[in-house]
Amino acid sequence: MADIARPKPRKGFRISRGLLPYLLSLPALLACIGILVPFFTAVAYSLQRYRLSQPWARRWNWGENYLNFLSDSSFWNTLKVSLTYAFLTVGVELLLGLGIALLLQKRSRFNNFVSIMLLMPLMTAPALASLMWKLMTNPGFGILSYFASLIGLEDFRWASSPQTAMLTVVLVDVWVYTPFIMILLLAGLRSLPQQPFEAAALDGVPRLFVFWRITLPMLTPFLLTATLFRVIESIQQFDIIYAMTQGGPGDRLTVFQVEAYLNFFQSTNVGRSAALLMILWAITYFLSNVFIKNWLKLREKQRGDI
């Protein structure tokens, strides 16, 4: 690849070539670097026994908060619930988002309008959307419960039953965030080069084969970007679950952020809350590292191909 910074400008202000990229990325970095200060403060909190309601008992206990998790069944439950939630939502959203993107792939006025219209759930703030879903799934007034009873599900309890609570919050998450994946993938699909597809069509290659062997591989970078952002957000889900069930029934939906939120804002157990969130941070960091490594590799490869 040609480095376009190479030719020296003949006139005007000269910036050393090596310095330029640093200068360009510096403002963004500086704007964000401030976050490191509260971040490390939070790391320090996670290494303390620190409850706001017992200030006299505050002291360093180093890894104790973390060690306690090992024998804490509610922590393992949180981990399990969070991963299940992230896996289910991202999985369903990817499949559905890809399907819709394929349906709308052809450029037409109708398809364009539908794709924008489908963004509306994404524009509804999750905190408010959940309030509405709660109403729609209310056993008496709720339209969805009414529909459910029409198709024979007389006593379907949505978020209030341990059996269907996860299903319900996943449904709301899918409703809100599938459009995000859909729009990324749709843009990706429409940008794919036409030649391979035309060639395949000429040769009469079966379409399923084209999809698996041409479309999907070429779409992978888009899939990775979309998945990356969704995984990060999904494993940190709070708004929807808290508004729908506050983590219940029982401990069915006590995902990381809900648990940490309750620990912080209600119990004011800052130490445990920070330790929980540090673990969540580590998981997110690890997952995105994997995604980005693959993303970079794929892009290198793709660039090599063309």
Binding site: D3, I4, A5, P7, R10, K11, G18, P21, Y22, S25, P27, L29, A31, C32, G34, I35, P38, T41, A42, L103, V114, S115, I116, L118, L119, M120, M123, T124, A125, L128, A129, L131, M132, L135, M136, G140, F141, Y146, W175, T178, P179, L186, A187, G188, R190, S191, L192, P221, T225, F229, I232, A260, V270, A274, L277, W281, S288, L296, R303, I306
Partner: protein, 285 residues
């Protein structure tokens, strides 16, 4: 082009109808509710037959909310304005900071570029709650608490990584030869960036900006904790309809409709960019 059979057309039609039903029905229902009083919303079983009323919108716009427990003052329009201002300003700042950086990462490979890019993205990994308490304390000390400036700064955590990572892909995909040729012709680096790279990545920038706008718009916790009542966005403001005499569903619905409208209008306007623009390889095809 291949010939599509009738069977396939029917299948596609059915699928797209189902998709629209699933995603649009709740929106449609919210829209209907925004024209109803609480009494007609809370009927068993629910029904689409009702006498439409504009009282919800009237209440939101005039700021007077009539409930069983008397008249309440609400400031929804102020919340709406705050949302608009905070999101727009954050995205503008995010673009200003993010585009040069995205260009640097995408185009000018340099030592440590991937590490810095990853660091920038990793700011998004930090769960908001984690940094919230220390952040409030530091903001208090710095005098940034309860200022728009402070909020816009914090919002960069939401918008900047998104802009950076989407826009960067575009810059990478602009064929280097075009820029190279332009520079050979004797133009400065900055002129090349402005005249060639920026316009070519335009759709991507618009799309990333719009998505960032949506995410900033939907944010809830930062403004709640860091600002006083007069700087709260709609996401917090709409909760004011959860009153002592019950949840005013009609008003929440009207609030949602009003809060979707600006973003939706923006998305319709930027339609072309949004759908075409997110394609990382827009100019390759």
């Amino acid at each position: 082009m291949r010939h599509t059979s009738t069977f396939e057309r029917v299948l596609r039609g059915t699928a797209i109808t189902l998709v629209i039903l699933f995603f649009m029905f709740p929106i449609f229902w919210i829209f209907l509710m925004s024209f109803q009083t609480n009494e007609t919303i809370l009927r068993v079983p629910p029904s689409v037959v009702f006498q439409p009323t504009f009282s919800n919108y009237a209440a939101l716009i005039t700021g007077k909310l009539e409930t069983a427990a008397g008249s309440l003052e609400i400031n929804f329009m102020r919340n709406l304005w705050n949302s608009l201002f905070l999101s727009t300003a954050s995205v503008a700042v995010g673009l200003l900071l993010g585009i040069p950086a995205a260009y640097a990462f995408g185009r000018l490979k340099f030592r440590g570029s991937e590490d810095i890019a990853f660091t920038l993205l990793s700011f998004r990994f930090a769960p908001p709650l984690l940094v919230l308490l220390p952040l409030t304390i530091y903001f208090q000390k710095l005098g940034l608490a309860d200022t728009y400036f402070g909020l816009i700064w914090v919002y960069q955590l939401i918008v900047l990584p998104l802009i950076l990572w989407i826009v960067r892909g575009y810059f990478e995909d602009i064929p280097a030869d075009i820029e190279y040729a332009y520079r050979i012709a004797g133009h400065s680096w900055f002129a090349t960036f402005r005249k060639v790279a920026l316009p070519l990545a335009g759709p991507g920038i618009a799309a990333a900006g719009l998505l960032a706008f949506i995410f900033a718009w939907n944010n809830f916790i930062f403004a709640l904790v860091l600002a006083s009542a007069d700087k709260q966005p709609v996401t917090v403001g709409a909760l004011a309809f959860v009153t002592a005499s019950g949840i005013q569903y009609g008003q929440v619905a009207a609030g949602i409709v009003l809060s979707i409208l600006p973003t939706f209008a923006l998305a319709l306007y930027a339609q072309r960019y949004l759908v075409e623009g997110l394609s990382l390889g827009a100019v390759k095809g």
